[in-house]
Structure formats: C-alpha cells, structure tokens
C-alpha cells in the first residue's frame, strides 16, 4: 500500500528581511513526510530547522516554492486561513513550553479548543482526559510556574493534542529539560506516533534524532542528507 503523503515541500525558499537586510534561510528545499511517520530534523543553529517547522506549521509562508499540508497548498493562504489550518491540523510543542502563565494546566489545554469553538463542558472534560493521558491528573489546577520543566512540557503536549491534529511539530522539546525529563518527553512523543500520529521533531540530540524513522540533516538552508533509522 502506498504511504499517504501528509506534508510536501516543493522547492521552498525563505528569505527574512531584518532591518532592510535580506537574510536567506532556506534555499529551495523539497521534502515529503508521510502519514504516521516519525521524522527528526537535525542541523547546526541557523541551518533553517525552525523555519521548516514554522512553514509546515502554517505560522509562516514561503518566499518561493509550495507547501502542501494534507493535500492542500498552504503557501499563499490568508492569515485567517492559516490560523484555521493551525487550529485543525497542527499541534505545536516548543522548547520554551510557551504556556500562558496566568492560566492553569487545564485552561492552557482548553485554549486551542476555545479558539475552535468547542463548548465549555466538552473542553474541560477533554482537557482533563489529555492531562490524565500525559500523567498530570494531579496537576490540573496548577499554574505553569508551579510545575517542573518536564511537567510543563507534558502540559504543552496535551495542549498540542487538544484539537486532535494530524501532525505534532516539536521544536527542540527537550532543549530546556534534564536528561530524565527529556527521555520521558521523547517516549511520550514516540507513544503518540505509535498511536498513529505523524510526529516531526527538531533536536540537537543525536540519540533522540536516531529514534525517528527518518532523520533529515540540514546545513545552510539545504538538505544535506536523509538517514533512515531502525
């Protein structure tokens, strides 16, 4: 059976303009990711890892080339259409956790569902389920500052799953964590993948990167090579 393509980059370039200086970050990258795949992206800083994540995650649009998400060309979508794609298809996990400090764990997980228009009762019960699934049933009412790094990242993963997205995009999810917590987070992401979700992870840790089915190596905005693991 042919694997289903979920992400497709066609000759994608990205140039940032910073203080009137043009900074090219990606130089024509082509890449496909299939449904249910676990893919890792490695590369030195400035190689364009986060930019790829942002493009796939519909946070940004390419300067040139096309980005397809679940068969749909998202390269030229309006800001609001992109927001809709993020809401429905994407779950982000960041290095900085990026939880809202004034909201507790439950409310943070509810947030994407609120934007998607899910009613309160349904939101709360699903957020509770998700937090239970990541082992935080005893931390529902805790604010991010009252949680450890590992716990915060688990809240972030629960939030990423809130609207049942196709793809989980994790940008250095273990970067701010100790060894043990980092290991737990990678295990959690692997478990999600085992349940059928597509996972794309940017990481510096070769050991974690090698757990993926494919490892994409980036250098200077180009794909240097793709390593097939396991």
């Amino acid at each position: 059976m042919m694997p289903m393509e979920i992400v497709r980059l066609e000759n994608v370039s990205k140039i940032y303009t910073m203080d009137k200086v043009q900074v090219p970050v990606l130089h024509g990258i082509s890449l496909e990711i299939y449904k249910g795949e676990f893919v890792s992206v490695m590369g030195p800083s400035g190689s364009g890892k986060s930019t790829i994540m942002n493009l796939i995650g519909c946070l940004d649009r390419p300067t040139r080339g096309e980005v397809y998400l679940d068969g749909k060309n998202v390269s030229k979508l309006s800001e609001d259409k992109l927001a809709e794609m993020r809401r429905k298809k994407i779950g982000f996990v960041f290095q900085q956790f990026n939880l809202i400090p004034r909201l507790n764990a439950l409310e943070n997980v509810e947030l994407p569902m609120w934007f998607a228009g899910v009613v309160k009762a349904k939101r709360t019960s699903r957020a509770g389920e998700l937090l239970r699934a990541v082992g935080l049933e005893h931390r529902l009412k805790h604010k991010p500052t009252e949680l450890s790094g590992g716990e915060r990242q688990r809240v972030a993963i629960a939030r990423a799953l809130a609207n049942n997205p196709e793809i989980i995009l994790a940008d250095e999810p273990t970067g701010n964590l100790d060894m043990k917590s980092g290991e737990e987070i990678i295990n959690l992401l692997q478990k999600l993948n085992a349940e059928g979700r597509t996972v794309l992870i940017v990481t510096h840790e070769l050991e974690y990167a090698r757990r993926a089915q494919r490892m994409i190596k980036l250098r200077d905005g180009l794909i240097e090579g793709i390593e097939v693991g396991k």
């Binding site: 942002n54 995650g57 946070l59 940004d60 800001e79 609001d80 927001a83 809709e84 993020r86 809401r87 429905k88 982000f92 960041f94 290095q95 900085q96 990026n98 939880l99 809202i100 004034r102 909201l103 947030l111 994407p112 609120w114 934007f115 998607a116 309160k120 939030r159 809130a162 609207n163």
Partner: protein, 395 residues
C-alpha cells in the same frame, strides 16, 4: 462571552495596580461628566417645577427689565385692557418692590409683592406651591396684613417670624397672618405678600404694575390669546415695550440657557473622560507589548486575528464598563453633595442637581464605548502581530 470575560479578568487582575490606575482615570472622567450634567439637568427640573407652580393655563405680561429698573411700567389701565381680550378669564396684577423691612430692630432689604388677594387666590387656585404652613392668606381689603414665604419665617431675620408678629415695611407696621409652606423656589420662599393698593400707596406708585398674570379661559388656545394680548398692548403703548410669556416660551428660552450650561459643563467633564480614554489606550498598548509572546502562543495554537482582536477589545471595554459603573456611583454621590452644600451655603433652590436613570445608563454606555474605542488601536496592533516574530521575542 463568559470565556472572554474570564480571560480579561485574569489579565486585568494580573496587573492590579496598573488596572487600578487606569480605572481611576475612567472613574474620575465619568464621575465628572455625571455630576456636571446633573447640575444642568437639576436646573431644568427645578424650572419645570416652578412652571408647575404657575400652571399651564397662565400667561405672564411684564415690561423688560433693564439695568437699574424697568423702562416703562404697566398700569392698571393696561391690566383692564388685557382683561377685555377674548379668551382671558382672569387678570391678576402684581406690584413688586424691593424695600426696607424691619423686624425687632433688625433691618433688611426684602422683596414685597402687592396683590389683589381675591384675584390672586382665584388665579392660583388648583396650582401647587401656595399651601399654607400656618395662618391664612391675606383677605380682600385686609389692610396692614401680610402673608410671608417660609424663608421669611425661618431664617431671613436673626429671629424667627411667627404669625401675629409685626414687620415694618418702609416704617409702616404689618401683621403676619399666614406663612406658606416651603416651595424650594427661592423667589417664592423669601417673598412677602401684601395688599396691592396699600403697598402702592405706601410706595407712592398708585397705578403701577410689575407683572400681570393672566389666566385664560378653559378651551382657549394659549398661544393665540398671547398674540391677541400683544396686539392690544402694542396699540395702547404705541411700541412693543413689553413681553408676553407663555409657559412654552419660558421653557424654550430658559431651556436653551440650560442646554448651553449642560454643554459647557459636560464638555469640560468630557475632557477628563477623554484623558481617561487615553489612559485606557496607554494601558492596552502596554498590555499588548507585554503579552507579545502570549499573542504568539495563542496564534500558534489556532487563534485568528479576530480572536485576538476580541480578547483585547473585551479587556478595554471591561475597563470602561467597570470604571463607568464606579464613576456613575461617584458622580451620583458628588451630585448629592453639591445639593447639600448648595442648599446650605447658597440657600434653597439656587443650585440644584439631578441624576436621572437615563443619564446614569448613558454615562455607563458612554464609558464602555470609550473603553472599546481606546482599545481599537492596541487590539488591532495585537491582532496583526506576526506569530513567528511574536514568539521569537520571548526566546
């Protein structure tokens, strides 16, 4: 809605002191608007009350007042001519003079009204404001008798004036036979009423009339009667050196003045509300700057521009509404305080304030709108933030 409210509440309570200061700006602005406008409204209401005393079936004819007195006074003959006009039921001539009044050795200047007791009673029959506290009206041909307003009895002189006491008007003794209840209208409360013929004699102005109060016949058109009186008087006097005022005209004329007072006072107060609005805008700009990363996070988990716009507009609207509610309460308190202070230091009926429910509600709505308007720019800025850029600022 509830979710937006809860989120706003959380954000606003996070920066308590800043929110408090911003609220203060709105509170002061709205309190100023409410209390200032209440002065104009109060004046209008008290005028309407005075007109109610007069009634709607009456006209006032008088010569215009100029500095230092009247140009040319009306006379008994003029009053008789008015009496003959079609539609006129009763004519009551009043003569008023400001003269020296003495009580137990204390001398003051007071306003004495001369009237025909019988006609006056008929003219004012059925209108409020002329209820007696004690004693009686002066009667027909009641020489050397007076009925006085509540203020004369209460605090005009050092010592209280009671029924049976004697007042000396231009050194002539008059006995107080009645005291009116308090009306709240300063002019009525401090008036002394005597028989018109005796008073004019005393003053040496036999035929002079200050104003003529005309009661019209039931079913007559007051504006038409007024025009007919004008015609008759103009023929008699040869020039239009008099005024005929209908209650409607009085309301229109004085109403204009009060409208201007309201606009001026309200305008001054609106400036302070505008400052409050700028305060909201400032706070919201700060909130947006401070929460740039948060906006990035919200966008990354699927918030559209509209969501962000609504979140911040709700916040600024809430500052407006909360500040507005507290401001209305303060404004109401200030307006009450002005009332108490004015009646204590200026006397009854000089300055009067009223806060109507419509006024309170519109002030509240206005505060909410000011909040929303102040929030438009910051909220728009927030909604237009580039998510990648916003998130990067937090890293």
């Amino acid at each position: 809605m509830i979710d937006y409210a809860l989120l706003s509440l959380k954000s606003l309570s996070h920066r308590k002191f800043r929110t408090f200061l911003t609220l203060l700006g709105v509170i002061i602005g709205i309190a100023a608007v409410v209390s200032m406008i209440s002065i104009g409204t109060g004046m209008k209401v008290s005028l309407e009350e005075q007109l109610e005393v007069l009634g709607t079936d009456k006209l006032i004819v008088s010569t215009p007042q100029v500095l230092g007195g009247r140009t040319k006074e009306l006379t008994d003959a003029d009053a008789d001519a008015i009496d003959g006009v079609m539609g006129v039921s009763l004519v009551s001539s009043l003569y008023s003079v400001s003269t020296n009044v003495k009580f137990r050795g204390e001398e003051k200047t007071g306003t004495v009204w001369g009237l025909d007791p019988e006609k006056a009673e008929k003219t004012f029959a059925g209108t409020s404001g002329y209820d007696l506290l004690e004693g009686r009206w002066i009667g027909k041909g009641d020489k050397n008798k007076i009925t006085v307003g509540y203020g004369i009895h209460d605090d005009f002189f050092e010592r209280e004036v009671s029924v049976g006491n004697a007042l000396y008007i231009k050194e002539h003794p008059f006995q107080v036979v009645g005291i009116f209840k308090q009306t709240g209208d300063r002019d009525s409360d401090y008036a002394i009423y005597a028989d018109i013929d005796q008073l004019r004699q005393l003053m040496g102005k036999e035929k002079e009339i200050t104003i003529v109060i005309v009661r019209i016949k039931e079913g007559s058109n007051i504006e038409q009667v007024a025009m007919r009186i004008e015609d008759v008087l103009e023929k008699r006097l040869g020039e239009k050196n008099f005024v005929v005022l209908t209650p409607k005209q009085i309301v229109e004329q004085v109403g204009e003045t009060f409208k201007i007072i309201q606009i001026v006072f309200g305008g001054i107060a609106a400036v302070s509300l505008a400052v409050g609005g700028i305060g909201i805008a400032n706070t919201m700009v700060m909130n947006v700057l401070e929460r740039t990363v948060e906006i990035g996070i919200m966008k990354s988990v699927g918030a559209s521009r509209e969501h962000i716009l609504r979140i911040f507009l709700f916040e600024s609207g809430m500052i407006g509404a909360v500040g507005g509610s507290i401001g209305v309460l303060f404004g109401y308190a200030i307006s009450k305080a002005i009332n108490i202070a004015a009646s204590k230091y200026l006397g009854q009926g000089i300055l009067y304030t009223t806060v109507t429910p419509e006024m309170a509600l519109s002030a509240l709505a206005f505060a909410f709108v000011v909040g929303i308007i102040s929030g438009i720019y910051p909220a728009y800025k927030a909604s237009e933030l580039d998510p990648v850029e916003a998130l990067r600022r937090g890293a």
